[in-house]
């Protein structure tokens, strides 16, 4: 057969947004076909249609030449289609085995046959080189292993066509290599893979062909070997893009931020941050790289005051803030753009203006003796909205929940940068945002650096770290395993450190 999967003229609309506008995708059997597009372009929606999570408003789907209607994931499974989700769909307190067999439980007599399941999982694990421990609970294993569980879920169901949704977002460079190897292995065994991603390097490394999606429309299908990364980027965004940020060399000044021998215990009682000593200067961006779960979150929580450190000291401009409350730290010159904008950064049910004053509501000019001054709040919000180009349906009175992710993030950044803190802790600032928003945010961060501020940038995106940082620290298992100059290092060296290899 020419094509194993055909999605022809698919249209899918949500409320008022057309996520997929007349998209056509054709995948050959045994190939690795990449689906390239920015965040929000419509790739995930298209694959959700293929996997039966959504029904298309218009268009047809053909599997192995036959037209089919995929009304739910079971139908997709029966047709041999499986999906490895970007946000893992795992039950945190079930074991690996229980997660894999959910919905597909074989019975022995009256009970679920756990032994058969374990056996089969071991076989698949060996065949495809996906190492897992069948009896551990999901909440106790690493992100990399969790992803392997997601993959095994599909292989357990004899999926022939596997869709990978942004699989490398949470992996180290080494793990990415491993995953690429696993994918190539799978195609050798006759599987077909559709890879959803916006990472050009990975497409170049492993894909055969690539379909580019932009703003809901399919733009082109290209042969990966014959297309450059620049060309692919241009197709993806619609204009010439340079992913490198323009920046003048740093002019670092005094040490403005210092941590000495910090120890932090995490939520599960485990030592998350071990004896960390770090410092950063005015006018510099210190990037902190590392795989998710190596203590970055706990370190940020200890610095910002959301979690009490076990021992050690924290200084801002030589002021010891180690035992100070959150509000006092903010007033001492600390700013924080949080990793999880919905959890920490915003009160979604509040209006935009009420969110803008989240850090300052108790101070003049926004309130006097406990009474809020609405006029002041309104004009402040209006100024920030204009300065930072924050878009919303009703301006300052918009309920933040209804705003897009990019604009929500811009609101948080507006709030924090306008406060002009001496030390700004930034965590995952561009996660889930489109290229335009990413460019803007990177630009503002460089601006703050050039104004002499100190920025600590925590990010899981190695490209972002390497792009923006002047110096880079790497965290592994709660320790800082190395600090290097950004222009003197490369991805391999950083990747090695992130995996515990140490500077070498």
């Amino acid at each position: 057969m020419k094509y194993i999967i055909e999605m022809l003229n698919i249209r899918k609309e949500f409320a008022s947004i057309v996520a997929n506008d007349d998209i056509t995708l054709q995948v050959r059997p045994g190939e690795i076909h990449a689906l390239l597009g920015e965040n929000g372009a419509g790739k995930s929606t298209l694959m959700s249609v293929l996997f039966g999570l959504y029904k298309p408003d218009r268009g047809t789907i053909k599997v192995k030449g036959k037209e089919v209607k995929i009304s739910n994931p079971n139908v997709a499974n029966d047709l041999g289609i499986g999906m490895v989700h970007q946000h893992f769909k795992l039950v945190h307190n079930f074991t690996v085995t229980e997660n894999i067999i959910l919905g597909n439980e074989k019975l022995k007599g009256l009970k679920i046959d756990i032994d058969y399941a374990r056996q089969r999982i071991k076989e698949l694990s060996n065949r495809y080189k996906l190492a897992v421990d069948p009896d551990v609970r999901i909440e106790d294993i690493s992100v990399g292993m969790q992803q392997r569980v997601e993959i095994l879920k599909m292989l357990y169901r004899d999926s022939e066509i596997l869709i990978f949704d942004e699989p490398t977002a949470v992996l180290t460079p080494q793990e990415i290599e491993e995953l690429m190897g696993v994918m190539r292995n799978m195609t050798k065994e006759g599987k077909t893979i559709i890879l959803i991603t916006h990472k050009l390097k990975e497409i170049k490394a492993v894909a055969d062909r690539c379909t580019v999606i932009r703003k809901g429309k399919s733009i082109a299908t290209i042969d990966v070997k014959e297309t450059s990364e620049e060309k692919m980027a241009e197709l993806m965004v619609g204009r010439k893009v340079s992913f490198k940020v323009e920046k003048a060399p740093a002019k670092p000044g005094e040490i403005m931020f210092k941590i000495e021998n910090l120890n932090v215990i995490g939520s599960r009682g485990v030592q998350a941050v071990k004896d960390v000593t770090l410092s950063a200067k005015a006018g510099e961006i210190l990037g902190v790289a590392g795989v998710d779960g190596n203590g970055q979150s706990e370190l940020i929580e200890a610095i910002t005051g959301l979690r009490k450190a076990q021992s050690g000291r924290i200084f801002i401009n030589n002021l010891d803030i180690s035992s100070r409350e959150i509000r006092q730290r903010n007033e001492a010159g600390l700013g924080h753009i949080p990793e999880d904008r919905h959890k920490y950064g915003l009160v979604l049910e509040f209006t935009l203006e009420d969110n803008m004053i989240l850090q300052n509501y108790y101070r003049p000019p926004f309130s006097k003796r406990g009474v809020l001054k609405r006029n002041e709040i309104r004009s402040y919000a209006k100024r920030l909205i204009e300065q930072f180009d924050v878009r919303s349906a009703q301006g300052p009175t918009t309920i933040v929940r209804s705003m897009s992710g990019g604009n929500q993030q811009k609101a948080i950044i507006a709030r924090e940068i306008d406060r002009s803190p001496q030390v700004l802790i930034v965590a995952q600032p561009t996660r889930g945002l489109d290229v335009g928003a990413i460019e803007y945010i990177h630009k503002r961060l460089i601006e703050e650096r050039d104004k002499g501020k100190t920025i600590l940038l925590f990010s899981l995106d190695l490209d972002e770290i390497m792009n923006l940082s002047d110096r880079i620290a790497v965290m592994y298992e709660g320790r800082i395993v190395g600090v290097v100059d950004a222009d003197k290092t490369n991805e391999q060296e950083l990747g090695l450190m992130m995996a515990g290899g140490g500077k070498g």
Binding site: A76, N77, V91, L102, G103, E105, L110, I112
Partner: protein, 315 residues
């Protein structure tokens, strides 16, 4: 001696309906739907039982009470569908929906009782017969405590908890139900209908609560009236939280409350206890519950997804 002989059977009698209702709450919450309507659901069961006995005693004869208990379970199940519909299909606030049922049922059932019983809001019933388990009741000491002057329904209830535990932890249905309460997206992604599982979870809670209400009527209160609505449904919620949503622990918690309540109720019979100011005895079950909660339920975490209406769009 005799104190135990009075306390134990009474405590068991109080525990059984309490426990069934709490078990019902377990199924609902494990599937992801908070169900505080247990008080109302037990009431609907009690009323259905009283109704059947009142109207059909002649037809069923000595088996009437058992038929009425089946009716109680069915009525509870049907009524719970109201809560299921509001919470699951209409994505209503689950606490509000449950509260609506808790306000509706006591009023509606008394209203209906009045209309079938010539304006009186009370329907008396004879209730279940006391029973001695053959052979086992003859065992010295233990026999007289647990197998003498008991009800056959007590043992049926133990069977119910066994089956519940087995299904919950060893059958595909149980695995999927629990998954719905922790991560419904995971369940949805393997093609199982979260909506269907949750409806079943809530329905089971209605059936068990209704049965509990029927037992409450026929073993403890012996009349359908406002005396049915003294808060056993809420106590069951406490037992559920105290038992950390696990069947056997919930049984233990219910037994604990049953014992506490019984001690408090029969205290007047014992002169030594009687000398205490009555306030200690009347508030004892509730105070001890608070203490137990503080000691054992700090940050007790229920099923992670309970209380959140399931939104297919969220990824």
């Amino acid at each position: 001696m005799n104190a135990l002989q009075i306390i134990i059977p009474l405590a068991i009698t109080y525990t059984v309906p309490l426990f069934l209702i709490a078990l019902g709450g377990l199924f609902s919450e494990r599937s992801g739907v908070i169900n505080i309507a247990l008080e109302g659901l037990l009431g609907v069961g009690a009323f259905a039982s009283a109704f059947v006995i009142f109207q059909y005693e002649n037809i069923f004869g000595p088996a009437t009470v058992y038929v009425s208990l089946i009716a109680a379970a069915v009525a509870g199940g049907l009524c719970s569908l109201l809560h299921a519909f509001a919470s699951i299909s209409m994505k209503a606030d689950q606490v509000v929906s449950g509260t609506a049922i808790n306000i509706l049922i006591p009023a509606l059932t008394i209203f209906l009782a009045r209309s079938i019983n010539k304006g009186s809001g009370i329907i008396p019933v004879v209730g279940l017969e006391l029973w001695d388990v053959p052979l086992l009741s003859k065992i010295p000491i233990i026999g007289s405590l647990f197998f003498h002057n008991t009800y056959i329904t007590t043992f049926i209830s133990i069977l119910i908890v066994l089956i519940s535990w087995y299904v919950l932890y060893h059958r595909p249905f149980g695995l999927r139900l629990r998954a719905c309460g922790e991560n419904p997206q995971a369940v949805d992604s393997v093609g199982i209908s979260v909506v269907k599982m949750r409806y079943i979870g809530v329905f089971i809670s209605g059936v068990l609560s209704g049965l509990g209400g029927g037992l409450l009527l026929n073993t403890l209160v012996k009349e359908f009236s406002t005396l049915i609505f003294t808060g056993m449904g809420f106590l069951a919620l406490a037992a559920l939280i105290f038992g950390k949503w696990k069947p056997w622990n919930v049984l233990g918690a219910s037994a604990f409350f049953g014992l506490a309540k019984t001690v408090s109720d029969i205290a007047p019979l014992f002169p030594s206890l009687n000398r205490l100011p009555s306030i200690f005895l009347t508030t004892f079950p509730y105070v001890i519950t608070l203490v137990a909660l503080v000691l054992f339920s700090k940050n007790a975490v229920g099923p992670r997804a309970a209380g959140e209406p399931y939104d297919v769009g969220k990824r």
